[in-house]
Structures are given as C-alpha cells and as structure tokens.
Symmetry: C2
Subunit: 344 residues, 2 copies
DNA sequence: CGCTAAATATACAACGTTATAAATGCTCTC
DNA sequence: GAGAGCATTTATAACGTTGTATATTTAGCG
C-alpha cells in the first residue's frame, strides 16, 4: 500500500541503497541519479518508515517530555518552548503527564512506560525530591529540569532561584516596602532543596542585606502552588491581623490567587500592598492589576535542555562527559502590582 | 547492551516466540512457562523495542496531536485531556505545534512532518478554514477537532456552538440584561462556518426569541482571540459611547481581556455590565470577578476523539464506516461576572 | 593508452519484533 | 491404549531501513 524504498528504487531504476543514500544526503551520489530518485520519490509520494529506520539506526527522532500536567500554565509554556526547541533539531516530542504521582514519576525515570520509543527524556519532577536522588540512574540520555533535586548524576537545567528571589524581594524594598510577606513556603521543614526553600532563602538574604529582621509571621505556607492555595494563604494572612505592605508570592499562580483575595478584602494593590510573583506566565500581563514577576528564562531553559539532551544522545560511549548543571539568566519584570505603569 | 527477546528466551529456556506470546498475552501459554518467562524478563530488565514492534506490526502505539500552540490555555487543557484519554488506550501522544501557520497545518494533514511515526492524527486547525475542506484527504486514521471545517471526509468531534452560544446569551437575558454586546466576531464576512460565526448566530437566535432587535453596533470584531484583542475591543466599545449592560465574549481569553478593560474604565462587573465567556478554562474560576462561562465539554471531546481515532486505527480495510460528526454536551457555568455568588 | 585511485553504485546481512505454519505434547474417547 | 483433537511450543520468514563489503564506473596521470 504505502510505497517503500523498493518501489522507489524500481521506479528510478537504481538499487534501494542508492535511494537510501539520496535520502540521507550521502556525499557520493551523481546529481543525475539523485534527480531520478527524487522524482521517483515525488511521484510515488514515498515517506520513509520511521519505525524501520528507528530499528536499524537505534534512533527514533523522538524525545520524551515528562511533566506533571499541561493544564498547569507553567508546564504548558515549558512544553511549548521545548517543542519549539526540539523542532530545530528535527526531533518530535512525546509528552507524558505524571499527574504529580510519585509512582508515575519513578516509572518515567526508570524508562518504563511508553518512553521506550524515545531517544531520551526531559524530566520535570513534582513529587520526587532530594531524598529520591538515588533513584535517578537513567540508562538513557536524560536531562533533569526544575529545582527539586540537585547533585544527581545527570545533566540538569534550572534557574537561579536564590538570587532571582533575592532580586524580587529587593524590587519590593526599592519601592519602599518594609513589611514583606511571602506566600508558598513549604510546610515540611525537613525537606531541603526545592524551589520554595531556595526562594525563601533569597528573600531572607535580601532582607538581611537591607538590615530588616525576618518576621516568621510573614512567611506563609501554601502547597501545592495553585490559585486556591494562594487565595487561602492570603485570606489567612489578612485575618491574622499582621501588618504588611509587600508580598512576594513564590509563583505567579499563587500571586494571582492572592491578588484575588486581596481584592475581595478591599486591599488596594499596589497602594496598600505591592505584589510580585515568579515565573512570568503569560497571564501575569493581563491580570488586574497586571502582575510583576520574575522571568526565569524559560525559553533559554528549553533550548539549553534540548541541546544538552541532543549532545548526550550523540555522545559516543567512551567519552563520558561529566554531568552539567546549567542555570538560566533571570530578569525582573515590573508591572502594575508593584507600581509600574509601563505595559511590558 | 539492552537485552532483547533472544536474551530472555535463552534465560527462560524457551523460544523467542514464546516470549513474544507471553508479552502479548496470547491465550495458550502454560502458567508455569509464563512464570519462567516473566521472571527472566524481570531479571534482565527487558523492555520491548517499540521500533521493532512498530516495524513488524505496523503500529507504533503513538498518536499525533496537532494544535496551534500549547501556550494558549485552551489547547493546553485540550492536550492535557487528550493525553489522559489516550493513556486509557495505552497510546502515547506526540504533540506537534502548527503555530497557526497555514503551511504547517497543511503539512500536518498531508502526513508530512514527523507524524509518520504515529498511528493516527488528531488535528485542531486554526488557519485552515471551510475553503480548505478539500485539502483534508488524509491517507491515515484521522479525527478533526474544532469548528473551522465541516462536511469533510473524516470523523469530526466538535461542540454545539450555536445552541450553547444561544444558552449563554439567554443566561444574560435571564438576569435582566437587554443591551448585550458581543466581542470576537470575525472581520471577514466571506468565511462562513467557524466558531465566531456559529456563536454569533446563537446570540442572534437568543435575541430573536426574546424579541430583542440586533444592534450591529454591539457586535464587535476581535481576532485572534487573545487577551489583548479582547481588551482592545472593549476599550473601543466603551469609547464608542454605545450603551450596553451585558457582554458575551466568544471565548474566555477575550473575556478576561475585556474584564481588564472594564476594570480600567471603572465599569463594575456584574453591576453595570454582566459578562460571560466561552470555554471554561481553569482561569475563569480565579479572575476578579470570577468569570461565568460555557463549558463545552472538553473532557468529553477528548475522550470521544481518541475513541474514534482508535476505532479508525483498528478498522479493517473493507468495512469503511462513513465519517461521524459528534457534538459534545455543553453546560452554562454561572459565576460572579453574571451575578452568581456560588463558588463553582 | 593503460594503470591507479577515486567516485559511484550494488548485494546482502543485519536491527528486534510478530505472523505463519508446522511440530510436538497432552487429554480424551471408545 | 491408539487415534483424534486440541493445547502448547517452535523454526523461520517477513517488516523497511541502514551499514559493510564489494563491485563497477569514471577520472587523472604519466
């Protein structure tokens, strides 16, 4: 039914290997022969069978991307960026959702699941944490994303959590805020390295540098980082009667929920409370008021991650390059919620 | 390096076909043999090579999903739902972004691109329209999504655009609004069947049934359906001085933009203007005020689409079932923007 | 011209799985 | 306890591509 190389070879009057050579841009093919083959391909509407190619060459041209859920804005935007980046390398992306399920995250790392069809995996965990570091011993090209696990044996692309959180806090300090609350800290103090703790550390560092004491009452727990939890944490904070004039929400989704709760309570933003989030999702530009945020360099993360993965895929067995840790550049985006009138 | 069926067969002391039989749950395998094979698989950490399976069986276990962009909330949620639905059928999903590019949409339909590795394609066009119907002659299992093209030769899953838009408009009428504006109509009147026109038709039908004349000044163009365009259309409408007390935005993104512009202009929602959107994206629940919307049955669309595709994939050549058109059930979700205080 | 070397094309064997058909083993029946 | 008939297992041939080794053609040079 669908034509194969044999059909093309027959029509063009050459051997099937010559067809293969033309398709793979091998050097020594006479222009006239190439022509003949190409027009036969055209005529028959031939397309290579990628399964066969994959079997023979050991490459499928597809990489896997394992994320919690696409309905979370941040991951949708990440997936978008990664698909674009993969495209430049002529790679397809098979998206797997782990739904924040521990077992499924483990399955993804161990290469169970569907991912046997892929040349490598980009993995962004949501449940696995630093304690699970030793689970990450993938037997295939692998790049870790996010900030839940550090020091593993694989390449890792992440952001400057501490310094960008510090910069966000400083942004609030610069506009004169002194009682800066934070929403999104993690309840479980045992667990260490994860975005929440890193960002809280940056917050404390900024306060410390400004000579402002840390008030534990201003550090509010919220997990997971969904809108409702941001709203709830803010309602609690307001109800507690603790005074504050600034808010650093550990991600934009929390910030949007908090914005909602502030609005409900009649608190004016940024007049009474200035707010900054983290992630710079599209939505931040359009909320009321528009939300200041930290752009963690998502595009750069995506491109770097794909490039690293491609390198690992192409790596010869011998030349084991040690695992790389790459951090992308961040940038503070000031909008209305911290008193900026610009329309970025 | 990675073990193959031969290795498993050797360890288990059976033939390779028996291993295959165990893996594929073939009926006639003695329990004791099955045990032996399974433990050999376990011991070696064997995983089937999907390329080889794909080559031999003609199935890859992967379907393609072509959407404009995941960063558009609606498509992220659609992709999320589709990946979940595909999982139930043990299928992976390769996501391709067409970026609203005509050529890329055509490439997707004609099966160019990476999609040769897939068993079938779910396609949600953004540029191709009714005029391009004849381009859709896919030579592989295919299900069309959305409402840009009708009457094609393939299965098609879509929503009740007219009646749900009518219901949305009626919802505004029921709370006493009489001057109902609409945002998101398409500028080009030549092109016919597409969400915008269908939804405008439902709007007109509702007004007609209520004996209210259609005021063309209340029908505002906006395209594409992004937040900025919703905001801009609303600013124009306000600036025009035309009186209105209700707004039906043709999707939630437009509505959120409009909400923003209304807020900026000091118009109270829902007191001065009641607003309803369309799509019921997650975000609608958390805007200020929360946004009433039409839930078009996204989950149902996703599940139906995958099921239809699976049926087409399994279809024997002879039994050509005629193309099916399926419309999912919708539901009006009333929130604050139309005066509802419930917290749905 | 004739010889060598390079350029070009070929035949055939993989890759790891599943399908086919045939072989073997087992359980009945009479 | 022999043959029928089914359950179980196997050997072997595909699937469509690319790599290797080899054959053939063309070009270069003295």
């Amino acid at each position: 039914m669908t034509p194969t190389m044999h059909d093309v070879a027959r029509v063009a009057g050459v051997s099937i290997k010559t067809v293969s050579n033309v398709i793979n841009d091998f050097p020594h093919v006479r222009p006239s022969t190439r022509m003949r083959v190409l027009s036969a391909i055209e005529e028959l509407g031939y397309r290579p069978n990628l399964s066969a190619r994959g079997l023979r060459s050991g490459r499928t041209g597809v990489i896997g991307l394992a994320v919690p859920e696409l309905r979370q804005n941040y991951f949708a935007e990440l997936a978008d960026a990664i698909i674009r980046a993969a495209e430049k390398h002529d790679l397809g992306v098979l998206v797997e959702q782990t739904s924040g399920d521990r077992e499924r995250e483990i399955a993804a790392v161990t290469g169970a699941g569907r991912l046997r069809l892929t040349d490598g995996l980009l993995f962004s965990p949501e449940r696995l944490g630093q304690d699970d570091r030793d689970l990450i011993q993938p037997k295939f090209p692998f790049v870790l994303l996010g900030e839940r696990i550090f020091g593993g044996p694989t390449d890792h692309v992440t952001m400057h959590n501490v310094s960008s959180a510090q910069a966000a806090t400083e942004h609030l300090l610069e506009i004169g805020r002194r009682r800066i609350a934070i929403i999104g800290a993690h309840p479980d103090q045992r667990e260490e390295i994860r975005s929440a703790d890193l960002r809280v550390r940056g917050y404390k560092r900024a306060l410390g540098a400004a000579g402002i004491p840390v008030d534990p009452q201003l550090i509010r727990v919220a997990a997971p980082w969904h809108r409702e939890n941001g709203a709830e944490a803010m309602r609690d904070l307001i109800a507690s009667g603790v005074a504050f004039d600034g808010l650093f929400a550990l991600n934009d989704t929390l910030a949007l929920g908090a914005l909602r709760a502030l609005g409900d309570a009649g608190v004016r933003v940024p007049d009474d409370v200035a707010v900054i989030g983290f992630d710079d999702i599209d939505e931040a530009r359009y909320s009321i008021p528009s939300l200041s945020s930290v752009d963690p360099g998502r595009q750069e993360i995506a491109e770097t991650a794909v490039e690293l993965l491609v390198e690992r895929i192409n790596e010869k067995d011998g030349e084991a390059i040690p695992p790389l840790l790459v951090k992308s550049e961040f940038r503070i985006v000031a909008r209305e919620s911290t008193g900026s009138t610009g329309s970025s």
